[in-house]
């Protein structure tokens, strides 16, 4: 099928895009076009106006913020750019790890962080990763700028706090909580095939007191799950289970149980509800163990489970 008629707009600046959006009813933003075009071609979405953001180069960047306590990723940055960013690899390695596992190469070449966050599919990689990282979204509209913590942004299934006339400009990740020398991060997915959406994913960050100690203590742990509920799911009980002590098998068991308990997934064709709850626990465990292992340069006795 072909989409219903629409008027096409291609602004070149964020301000211009915000104006176009403010002046028109029933407009949709187009980022990497890995979802919207399909939905429109099937006439499930029939916006009167399409605002293509691909010429807004100001939104394509990965940069350290001037005050040095945050890294920002522009909304139109592709998965591929995120996957290959040296700055992110050093400061926020969870994001490249999340990006490189998205779908296939052609999707990664076109799809963007802002598109994923805007679509707000609870199975998406960035929503869970940004939630685990305590990120803040920077939004722009004709009325000005607004900031929303990712923890407040996802409201319901594919439903967000983003206003009708707002554009996601960037995601800002605080770097103070994640000193590279003492931090490990991981993004693990279970999926039946590379090109599909994951069954469940786990995003974790772990900071230890002293990576060279005999038994480094977990100062802080962060965990979010994807596709385990209607929205990306932060599991603070699992975080608390591993904090303030060296990582142990018992603590991982408690964290896994907390993640299974917190999960409220929808059954799917190849993964019923009970299975997904179990996977949520298991991937919470693996992801926390791997993050700890990375934080301590692999010099711990914790047995990191792997798929191999």
């Amino acid at each position: 099928m072909k989409p219903a008629p629409f008027e096409y707009h291609r602004p070149t600046t964020v301000a211009e895009a915000a104006e176009v959006l403010a002046d028109r009813e029933d407009a949709e933003l187009l980022a990497g076009n890995q979802s919207l075009g399909i939905v429109m071609a099937n006439r499930l979405a029939t916006p009167d106006h399409l605002v293509d953001l691909n010429a807004v180069e100001d939104l394509d960047y990965v940069a350290e913020r001037a005050d040095g306590d945050a890294v920002a990723v522009g909304a139109m940055t592709t998965h591929r750019t995120i996957e290959r960013s040296d700055l992110l690899a050093e400061r926020v390695p969870m994001l490249p790890e999340a990006a490189e596992q998205i779908a296939g190469p052609s999707v990664r070449n076109r799809g963007t962080l802002g598109g994923s966050v805007g679509e707000a599919d609870p199975a998406g990689n960035y929503p869970a990763a940004l939630l685990a990282l305590d990120a803040t979204l920077e939004l722009v509209s004709a009325d000005g700028e607004r900031e929303v913590p990712v923890s407040d942004y996802f409201v319901a299934y594919m439903f967000t706090d983003l206003g009708e006339d707002e554009i996601i400009a960037a995601a800002r990740i605080p770097t103070d909580p994640f000193p590279p020398a003492r931090t490990g991060m991981a993004f693990l997915e279970l999926k039946p095939a590379a090109q599909t959406w994951p069954t469940v994913s786990a995003a974790t960050a772990v900071r230890v007191d002293d990576p060279d100690a005999d038994a480094p203590v977990v100062e802080e742990a962060l965990l979010a799950l994807a596709n385990a509920a209607d929205v990306p799911l932060r599991v603070e009980d699992a975080e608390a289970a591993v904090e303030d002590e060296p990582l142990s098998a018992a603590a991982l068991d408690a964290a896994a149980a907390a993640a299974t308990e917190a999960a409220d997934p929808e059954g799917e064709m190849h993964a019923d509800r009970e299975f997904k709850e179990e996977v949520a626990g298991e991937y919470a465990r693996r992801s926390l163990a791997l993050s700890y292992d990375r934080a301590t340069n692999g010099e711990t006795d914790v047995n990191v489970p792997t798929d191999e």
Partner: protein
């Protein structure tokens, strides 16, 4: 068939809230996605409402009939909506109980048959979005009442009406 339910508390008295729940102009302002609303008779309203999930936002032509209206405690409505490739049929009931300190506890339930694209989203996705929309509606309506904007009760029950989901 899908069933949804929820509860909303307000410190405003139910007799006052009743006027807002039965004033079509207030409903038009507060109901999410309402483009227009017409009072066809004291017990019938037609509206166009755009609601959806993600970029899928069907515009429904909705016909709503008030099947029970017992001031100030019970309001029941039957609604059917049609849009391109989507349709729904719903019975919604709201019980207003007196809460503490003269406030109100509104308990709502909705039974609905859905067909088309939105049906494929499943009960949990729709329930999630329905909760959000209903909460927004109650909050907006309460804010309108709190600001003291005037409201006039214009809806009453259709005589001998009985709400049911069509087979």
């Amino acid at each position: 068939m899908m069933e949804f339910e929820g509860e909303f508390e307000s410190d405003l008295p139910r007799d006052e809230l009743w006027n807002y729940f039965t004033d079509p102009d207030v409903l038009a302002d507060c109901a999410p996605g309402t483009d227009s609303i017409e009072l066809e008779s004291p017990h019938e309203v037609t509206a166009t409402i755009s609601v959806g999930v993600g970029s899928v936002k069907p515009t429904f032509d909705v016909e709503m009939v008030v099947t029970r209206a017992d001031r100030p405690e019970l309001l029941e409505m039957q609604a059917d909506g049609s849009a391109s490739r989507n349709a729904f049929d719903a019975v919604a009931e709201m019980d207003l109980r007196e809460g503490d300190d003269g406030g109100t506890v509104a308990q709502w339930t909705a039974r609905t048959d859905v067909s088309g694209m939105i049906a494929s989203l499943g009960q949990r996705a729709l329930g999630s979005v329905t909760d959000k929309l209903v909460t927004d509606f109650f909050e907006d309506l309460e804010a309108t009442a709190r600001e003291g904007d005037p409201a006039e009760s214009k809806l009453e029950a259709k005589p001998d009406a009985e709400a049911s989901l069509e087979d």
